[in-house]
Symmetry: C2
Subunit: 249 residues, 2 copies
């Protein structure tokens, strides 16, 4: 990694970081135009762009062509495709993503049960209702599904865990939207979400954890079936170990 006082990239990153820490730059704020900002920092526009690119890659900045550059808004999330890229590099398996998600979200649910506030419970309740209302519209259903889990993450009171979850789910999303679930699955799914909600609202941490785990385990096996059904192994890589070897208790 580049040194802070030498490389232009880090100079830009640190400058913006300082602006953020001092409160001079808030989420959603727009930074000055590149030409102007570069002149103010006494560096070339190219270097400024490098630094901004670095921040954008990590989800801290949001660059919009023809409009401007803004401080990222919305739920904290690490680089959008970073996990997916790392996955390609290190050969992540699908079940590993599900496992990671299951662990994170189970704990998130437990924390939400302990720390959630009324406003969170209200949002959860609304999303559950919307899920029931859209069991025949998988696309719309998925939106509320995602939102429900996101509210839980918020209610957990730990934005770091929430960011990690967001990172994993967005990596998982690509595969997920391709396998549109069937309606009857959605009814079951909505029921489970309702159970999760109830456990959280009654502040029963261990049950929230357990139900969430059950939900995600089911979701995984459902998706595994879909995949193996509609796409026979498209093999090609020699060392492709077919998972599930060790420790499935």
């Amino acid at each position: 990694m580049p040194k802070s006082d030498t490389h232009m990239t880090m100079r830009v990153v640190n400058h913006i970081r300082t602006l953020i820490e001092s409160g001079g730059l808030q989420p959603g704020d727009q930074i000055p135009p590149e030409r102007e900002f570069a002149q103010k920092l006494r560096i070339s526009r190219a270097s400024l762009r490098t630094g901004i690119g670095y921040l954008a890659a990590m989800g801290v900045m949001d660059v919009r062509h023809g409009v401007g550059t803004f401080v990222a808004d919305g739920p904290p999330e690490l680089g959008k495709s970073s996990l997916s890229l790392l996955g390609a590099l290190h050969g992540f398996q699908s079940w590993q993503m599900f496992e990671a998600r299951r662990i994170l979200e189970s704990e998130l649910a437990a924390l939400a049960a302990e720390r959630g506030r009324e406003q969170h419970f209200t949002s959860m309740s609304e999303e559950v209702a919307e899920m029931y209302a859209t069991v025949n519209d998988p696309i719309e259903y998925l939106i509320h599904d995602v939102r429900f889990h996101r509210v839980i993450a918020q209610a957990s009171g730990n934005p770091i865990l929430a960011a990690l979850m967001e990172t994993i789910t967005s990596a998982l999303y690509d595969e997920r939207r391709k396998t549109a679930e069937r309606s009857r699955d959605l009814k079951e799914s909505a029921d489970l979400h309702r159970e999760i909600f109830r456990a959280i609202r009654s502040r029963n941490a261990s049950e929230a954890r357990a139900v969430m785990e059950r939900h995600l385990t089911m979701a995984q096996s459902a998706q595994d079936l879909e995949i193996s059904a509609q796409a026979p192994p498209p093999n090609g890589r020699p060392a492709k170990k077919v998972r599930r070897s060790a420790g499935e208790a």
Copy 2:
């Protein structure tokens, strides 16, 4: 996020991604020099650099001035300072990082107990021995401490969770190395690590999880004490986040 077929950045990213997925590019491999590679891809060197910067920011590439650009090697990790940056932006608290770490590592320890192999146990044992041997050298001790936890992550068989842990610990590292622990704390710490190791080797998942949780809880309160001791609370500001150093330079 730029579109894949329009933006040069994504063209580069996708090209390299394809090379990695096809096996034509493995961790540690060097990519062609920028001038040459840019010509081969029919794009300008500047655009190529943008794409490489994007990949480097996410920890997929490793750019070394005067040497070359390589595919990242070593343990998978998301952008090195990404969490720290996001933290500055969203006001992450120190206890939240510890909590996230505690949850991740506890589960990691449990998984390691279920799936760890002999080779992992051997490495863990070695690191524990090194820890005992360096209880009087905090700097050296910390190295083995980190390695021990890294072996556990490997032994868990889930590189994604390992990567998340790596991301958190590297964000935590900055604060950590400043508060060099005292020797007698290190002796206790080593004892706890030995306990963790024994639980994992005896494949006792729940105990491994419990001991790891205890270890990290202790580490947290120890560090909290250090901090509050050497930096008296600047009273009166209840919800003010702990400022990071941000470099004196």
